[in-house]
Amino acid sequence: MKIVNVTHGSFYAIGAYAAASLTAAWLARGYPPMLSYAVLVVAAIVVAAPFAIFIERAILRPLYARDEVVILLVTYALFLILEDVVKLIWGVNPYFIAEPYALLGSFQVAGMAYPTYNLILVAVALFFGGGLAWLLHSTRAGKLLLAVIHDPEVSRAMGVNVGRYYLATFTLGSLLAALAGAFTAPTVSVVPGLGVEVIVLSFAVVVIGGLGSLPGAAVGAVMVGLVRSASVHYMPQVELFVIYFVMAVVLALRPRGLFSLAEPRKI
């Protein structure tokens, strides 16, 4: 959609809060703990979807004709507003749901314990990444979406309901951010400011990979994760610096990121 959407941080936080509060309520009532994973997913989707639809319909839709920088600033403003909305809804006290994290036990690698939940998160990320790639490149809807992103006017002239595609794409992206928050919620203390941390790191990931590129985002995420972990183990004092050093090196060599898409020229 050619939108650098800063509200993804807010949707991450909304997903985490919705999942933490509703899963805690589920477990407090003595319902089966194994079903708490389903509650995580449903809670994030049900709570985040109305926010996503409202933002796209009421705020972003009138602005699509404007410059991309204007939309970036609007999403940043929305991000700040949603930070306070989250506080109004859930307050400032932390939420915890450790049960889904501990429920699956752990496994040993080189004498160290790793929670099985973390391994499942890797599988979930692969599933969603693969699913998105399939949706975009192997389905009619995905191909039409690529056409809409490239040239909304021509797509509209060809009979594509551009507004519906924008709504669906923005909502899907926001729900994926909310799901990421929901899956992270059992491993952290869900507190105000959760979205701020993730959006900064996510920005580094997508810039390294190349804006708009799905494989780029995946490779960027793996690079950031590996570089940070290596630094933590071998040189912890440069842990913060090293991520942005990698980003600077990549941008110096490939200013549009590792997997930047060829820019189609409009005639």
């Binding site: 952290v188 941390e197 183990h233």
Partner: protein, 425 residues
């Protein structure tokens, strides 16, 4: 006669109109500053503000235990102006000036962030406004400068780190190695620096396996936990607080971090009330002094903890205790100064003089304004180890260290005192 009647009516009306102003002038207006929003609000700011609300209401009603049973401050009703500490240090300096120059507060009690305390102290001095820091930990405030109007009725972070080192040495006499996981800013670096220094004094051949300094509020610590598990240090020190502390417990517990190494969490008490049984057995918890579960069983603690819990449906944490003792200390100083002034309302200078070198009792026990030229408090400190009993978190092997053993003597800087092998004057 008619003229006299009119004069009488006018006089009465004028007096009636003036009465509210006279009454207002008799009130003591206190600026309360704490984090009301942001990540430090839930663990520190809100519990501290709740403590201020509770203590001030109790004092205004004359319900405090003796010698705090006189209404308000020396009979004057207390009113508050609350300021959110969230925002930059520059913002806080502006807000402090607003408190003094626009709200005309009589005194200020507040500040959790060490950075804010360091910035506010010279401004308080410039504006000649009595200011009592209730929570911030950096020892540099009174070690690098001398103030007339600035006080701190809570102990410094040096006490936490030295107390932690003594506890660890007592619990593991043959300790050979340590590792650290602290936030990468002033508090985390100072806490680790003091702990590492104290441990090296106590155990000369100590090996430091690793010192992890992740970003504040990073939230995810799996890489750091792997590094700590791989380091296999005898003891892990962490001064994490808020969501970072809770995330460390939630992520480190299932991976056996607290079982593989004795883990000491210097501010762990704040997580006790929220995470309870999820804190693994054998974790060492501090409360930045004799607060919360370590508070003495005295009349002040009974009054404060029972009343607080009844009103807010949650037990007070150490930030609440620190705020309570900050208000109580100032109350005693105010009333002492008022008595010395023959019952007249004391000036800021007179209240300051009264608080200098004062000793008073509070919900956390004895507070002595013994260092920093009588402006900085010292207290005993306490650490204990968690053990789950019938699903409830309890603290065992609780050890108390007297104030002289965990605080530098008057006129000696913390780092110099630790390097000297904790020599008393």
């Amino acid at each position: 006669m008619r003229f006299m009647n009119r004069l009488g009516i006018a006089f009465t009306a004028a007096m009636a109109a003036a009465l509210p102003q006279v009454a207002a002038a008799q009130n003591v207006k206190i600026g309360i500053v704490a984090f009301i929003s942001g990540p430090a609000a839930a663990p520190f700011g809100v519990p501290a503000k709740n403590a201020a609300d509770f203590v001030i209401d109790e004092l205004n009603a004359g319900r405090g235990p003796a010698p705090y049973d006189k209404k308000g401050f020396g009979g004057a009703t207390l009113e508050t102006v609350v300021v959110d500490e969230a925002g930059s240090t520059t913002t806080q300096v502006t807000e402090f000036r607003n408190l003094v120059q626009r709200h005309n507060v009589d005194l200020v009690i507040g500040y959790i962030s060490s950075g804010n305390c360091l910035a506010i102290a010279p401004v308080a001095e410039e504006l000649k406004k009595f200011t009592n820091f209730f929570d911030c930990g950096t020892p540099r405030i009174f070690e690098d400068a001398a103030y007339k109007y600035v006080f701190r009725t809570s102990p410094t972070a040096t006490m936490d780190s030295v107390g932690a080192a003594l506890y660890v040495k007592d619990a593991k006499p043959n300790i050979k190695s340590i590792a650290g996981l602290n936030q990468n800013y002033a508090w985390g670096q100072d806490s680790w620096g003091d702990f590492e220094l104290a441990m090296k004094v106590l155990v000369p051949n100590l090996e430091v396996k690793t010192s992890q300094m992740p970003k504040l509020f990073a939230g995810q610590y799996n890489a750091e936990i792997s590094a700590l598990l791989g380091a296999k240090a005898d003891v892990i020190h962490s001064s994490f607080w808020n969501g970072d502390l809770e995330a460390l417990i939630l992520q480190g517990g299932p991976r056996g971090l607290m079982k593989s190494s004795m883990t000491i969490l210097t501010t762990g008490e704040t997580a006790m009330h929220k995470l309870g049984p999820q804190i693994p057995d054998g974790t060492v918890l501090g409360a930045r002094g004799p607060f919360g579960p370590y508070a003495p069983n005295n009349a002040y603690n009974k009054w404060f903890s029972a009343g607080f819990e009844k009103r807010f449906s949650a037990p007070p944490n150490y930030a609440s205790y620190q705020m309570a003792q900050a208000i109580l200390g100032v109350k005693l100083a105010w009333e002492k100064a008022q008595a010395a002034a023959g019952g007249k309302r004391p000036t800021n200078e007179q209240v300051g003089t009264a608080l200098e070198n004062m000793t008073f009792e509070g919900p956390g026990g004895t507070v002595r304004m013994a260092i920093g030229k009588g402006h900085q408090a010292v207290m005993e400190t306490v650490y204990g180890t968690t053990r789950l009993v019938n699903g409830k978190l309890t603290l065992v092997n609780v050890k108390r260290y007297p104030a002289e053993k965990v605080n530098p003597p008057e006129g000696v800087k913390s780092a110099d005192w630790i390097k000297s092998g904790f020599k008393p004057n």
